[in-house]
């Protein structure tokens, strides 16, 4: 095992807890815990938002998908970044000016409906869990890949560190922790990639797509994990050890779905046009509906700074997403055995040692990316947990702003237990797919609520509730069917696997029609609310 990994992980955990404890010295009031008393500067805030946003799906998943499927999945990073542009254009400043802290708060401010507030609470908790479970799962899988220890320990370790940090330091401490973790994640991908590209140059620039398909660059032994058929002819059984020489072609494995043909390089391979557009819609519009993303906007002092913060986030996130693609492409050359085992998500973790050899440099850089992966799990799950805990705190414990810090800690523990238990019992759920589905649910429930609520005077509580129940409910149903239902084929399979293309327009349509039908219920003070959402603070009305 790589001797640098354990010290690296320990340092990340210690620094996380250390900055959390340092932040605790400043956290005195409930307001500090919830919104860092709205006194965080835009650059800190932007780094924290980016640190929070770049999850396991971004750090590990994108490179794995590129390795496996090629150019078509580049829409994932593009969409993850473009989501912040949609957030900037339609939501950032008015949402901050609304003065709401959580999505349920926004329902209260804009539509004055306790029913809608409860409905929003249900969706925040559902989306939060849908997003938290795969984070802890990813942590468990990384732990197994790197240390060989049991999956449960990795999931538990991350769960406990995150819960302790959020419960003790709240939002104020978390801001500094996450800002640190953004820079750690960027460094952990950027530094190794320099050495990887240099190595590729000195190896004589081996082709990414050799004419006969991927080949092994070094002698490799692959342990077969389940019975399969190689190249459609040779039968292999679990436990078999296959040895390959440099230059051997990587055989097709019947149990692994990937893209070997030249179409890896060209768009329009396996993904249909419908699936591509559905993915674009889900990621572009889903970001604004993720509870941990929204909560951050209340830590800005005013609407204009919320806008500037979002722009910096867009730049930071875009900068980060330049890197995973390179890992996926180089993985095609140096770690083609992952195409046989199907563990393509591990490409970021394994590539440094595979390309640079088992010397100190390779091991050190391998430990660096592992530390970055841990930072990815820690920061995203901290942010999710803070936001779900915030909602549990205000809407389920009914503590409201007068609640004590102890209540917030109780809410944190309550919000953490369910996903932790779930992540241990459902180890086999497909990580990156579940994250994509969380985006689809957010895009078909909170995105229409926010966009219509901010820009259209005619929205009513009944219309909004109907849109969330029908559009968001349809997306939720598709998620549950994908995760637990029977395998589908043909058009129904596409509609369920990538639901956003029909659930998002459905949610918008139902919300508009429902509001027009119940016109009488438009709040009487809508003029004052619109003034508050859109007028600059400098007027001090």
């Amino acid at each position: 095992m790589n001797p640098y990994v354990v010290p690296g992980l320990v340092v990340v955990v210690l620094v996380t807890v250390g900055i959390g404890a340092y932040g605790l010295r400043f956290a005195r009031t409930t307001s500090d815990f919830l919104v860092a008393s709205r006194s965080v500067s835009p650059s800190w805030n932007a780094a924290a938002i980016s640190g929070e946003y770049l999850s396991a799906a971004s750090f590990l998943g994108v490179a794995g998908l590129v390795l496996r499927y090629g150019v078509d999945v580049l829409w994932y990073p593009v969409g993850f970044a473009a989501g912040y542009l949609a957030l900037l254009l339609f939501v950032a400043a008015p949402l901050r000016r609304s003065g709401a802290f959580t999505l349920p708060d926004f329902c209260q401010v804009r539509l004055r409906s306790p029913l809608l507030r409860r409905l929003a609470t249900v969706f925040v908790i559902f989306i939060g869990c849908l997003y938290l479970v795969p984070q802890m799962q990813g942590a468990g899988l990384t732990f197994t890949t790197v240390t060989g220890a049991r999956y449960e320990w990795g999931a538990l370790l991350v769960g406990v560190v995150v819960t302790a940090n959020v419960a003790l330091g709240g939002m104020r401490a978390i801001t500094f922790v996450q800002a640190f973790q953004y820079w750690l994640k960027l460094t952990a991908l950027a530094v190794p990639v320099i050495f990887l590209v240099l190595q590729w140059q000195s190896d004589g620039r081996p082709a990414v797509t050799p004419p006969a398909g991927p080949v092994f660059s070094t002698a490799t032994t692959v342990v077969v994990e389940q019975d399969a058929v190689l190249d459609g002819t040779v039968r292999v059984h679990a436990g078999d050890r296959l040895t390959f020489e440099p230059g051997d072609r990587v055989p097709d494995v019947s149990t692994v779905d990937d893209n070997r043909a030249a179409s890896w390089l060209l768009p329009g391979g396996d993904a249909s046009l419908f699936a591509t557009y559905s993915l674009i819609l889900a990621t572009f519009l889903g970001t604004m509906g993720l509870p941990h993303v929204l909560v951050r906007f209340y830590t800005n002092p005013d609407g204009a700074s919320a806008r500037r913060t979002t722009l910096v986030v867009l730049a930071l996130v875009g900068l980060f997403y330049l890197l995973p693609t390179l890992y996926g492409v180089l993985g095609r050359i140096y770690t083609p055995q992952l195409l046989m085992t199907g563990r393509t998500d591990a490409v970021v973790l394994l590539l440094p040692e595979a390309a640079l050899g088992g010397g100190h440099l390779g091991q050190f850089l391998g430990a660096l990316v592992t530390a970055g992966a841990l930072a990815a799990f820690l920061s995203t799950s901290s942010g999710l947990l803070t936001s779900v805990a915030g909602v549990v705190f205000t809407d389920i414990l009914h503590a409201d702003r007068g609640g004590s810090v102890r209540d917030f800690r109780l809410a944190t523990v309550l919000a953490a237990v369910v996903p932790m238990v779930l992540s241990i019992y459902v180890a086999n759920m497909d990580v990156s797919r579940v994250v994509g589905l969380a985006f689809a649910v957010a895009a078909s429930s909170f995105c229409p609520l926010l966009v219509l609520g901010i820009w259209w005077r005619g929205l009513t509580d009944i219309g909004a509730a109907a849109g969330i129940v029908i559009g968001g409910g349809a997306a939720m149903g598709a998620v549950l069917l994908t995760v637990m239902g029977p395998p589908l084929t043909g058009w129904p399979a596409q509609l369920v696997a990538q639901p956003a293309a029909w659930t998002v327009p459905l949610a918008f349509a139902v919300m508009v029609v429902g509001s027009l039908v119940t016109k009488r219920r438009v709040p009487a003070d809508i003029g004052a609310t619109m003034l508050r959402l859109h007028a600059p603070e400098s007027l001090r009305l």
Partner: protein
């Protein structure tokens, strides 16, 4: 003001002020009062601001939709485009993996600039009505 029906028995009210003070103390920011009280004029001002900001956001999102959203269609309709190589890299990789991010940041930067200008215009109208 102009309450003549109710003023039948009483003499019309006369405001007596020192000339200089009257000239100095003009009603403070009538437009701001209109806003705060939610009069039709105030409503119209806010509606104008909301419409300007929404039009800006919609225009810029159309730029993104045509710039990025048309790419899958383009690649499907003209597969030859996907085979074009620039600096040895296939065009779709270059567009999606690299150029899309500066493009998004550029659109965002333009939005922040113009949205702040819209707000300054609004503030100027409120501060100095019919200047």
């Amino acid at each position: 003001m102009g309450d003549e029906t109710g003023a039948a028995g009483r003499p019309p009210r006369t405001r007596v002020v020192l000339g200089e003070a009257a000239a100095r103390r003009r009603p403070p920011d009538p437009a701001r009062a209109e806003l705060a009280e939610g009069t039709p004029v105030g409503e119209a001002l806010v509606k104008g601001l909301v419409r300007a900001q929404l039009a800006l956001a919609v225009r810029l999102s159309l730029v993104v939709v045509t710039g990025l959203g048309s790419l899958p269609l383009l690649f499907a309709a003209a597969p030859a485009v996907g085979r074009i190589k620039v600096l040895g890299i296939n065009l779709p990789w270059l567009l999606l993996g690299f150029l899309s991010f500066p493009f998004l940041v550029g659109v965002g930067w333009a939005y922040v600039r113009w949205a702040e200008r819209n707000e300054q215009d609004f503030t100027a109208v409120i501060r100095r009505p019919e200047a």
